[in-house]
């Protein structure tokens, strides 16, 4: 099966190179709000509730300073990803105990014709499991730099 191309799921409107949030909850709120501000979702409260419920099942931090909060919601019409970087790091309850710097929030509608949700999650995990790639994501300041990383 062909690997999904991550680049098409990101948008400059949902790219936050310097998160203001100082806690996990505030970061989730900030990322959900950027989807709302971009006009990609209408009801941010529903999405935030779903994302927080998912976190209750187990932290979405995947170690090495990365978290991928994710879930399906009726508020999303398409698969979409927001990116946020926290320089100071946030306590995400990661198994390795390290603070989270890179956050990728993945939202998907309940029904997708091409079922890309899990392959995209898997591809993100795969890309970010490479320590060199991870490091590069912490250096980006513009969306163009960010998308260049995804192309490579």
């Amino acid at each position: 099966m062909e690997k999904p191309k991550l680049i098409s799921y990101f948008n400059e409107s949902t790219f936050i190179p310097a998160l203001q949030a100082r806690s996990k909850d505030a970061a989730l709120d900030e990322l959900v709000n950027c989807f709302v501000s971009a006009g990609f979702i209408r009801n941010g409260a529903i999405v935030l509730e779903m994302i927080k419920r998912r976190e209750e099942l187990g932290s979405t931090a995947i170690n090495h300073g990365i978290a991928i909060p994710h879930g399906r919601t009726t508020a999303a019409s398409d698969l979409m990803i927001a990116f946020g970087y926290s320089k100071r790091g946030l306590n995400w309850g990661a198994m390795d105990g390290k603070p989270v710097h890179l956050i990728f929030m993945v939202l998907a509608p309940p029904q997708e014709q091409n079922n890309k949700y899990l392959p995209v999650l898997g591809r993100l995990v795969e890309v970010l499991s490479n320590s060199t790639e991870r490091e590069k994501f912490t250096q980006v300041t513009t969306f163009a730099e960010f998308t260049n990383l995804l192309k490579s």
């Binding site: 399906r72 309940p110 949700y117 999650l121």
Partner: protein, 116 residues
């Protein structure tokens, strides 16, 4: 009557959402995400409670379809079944909107619901 059917359909959609979540939670766990045993048990408990609210015949139809398709109950959008993407006859659509009975797609057999 219509209200009862509508409620049953809503319960069935909720059950399907829960079933998909239970399945996907297991799959994301394989990708390396943490899922607590307690969290997974909570979902299973919620499913058991939800099942009690659905009529046996409807539930058994749902379970039979679920063994065949990822989604047993699908919405109709623009007169199209979003399971097999075949056009649903106008007569069925007109009937479906009244919520008088549970209807299935004539092509794939999936249970249909109409987005209000």
């Amino acid at each position: 009557m219509a209200e009862k059917i509508k409620t049953q359909i809503e319960f069935l959609v909720a059950l399907q959402d829960l079933d998909i979540m239970i399945k996907e939670i297991a799959e994301v766990k394989e990708l390396g995400f943490e899922v607590s045993a307690e969290g997974a048990a909570t979902l299973t408990r919620a499913r058991a409670e939800l099942v009690q609210t659905i009529k046996k015949q409807l539930l058994s139809n749902y379970e039979r379809l679920r063994s065949r398709y990822k989604r047993a109950i699908v919405p109709v959008k623009e007169d199209t079944c979003l399971g097999c993407f075949m056009r649903v006859p106008t007569s069925i659509t007109a009937q479906g909107r009244t919520d008088v009975e549970v209807l299935s797609c004539e092509n794939c057999g999936r249970i249909l619901y109409w987005l209000s």
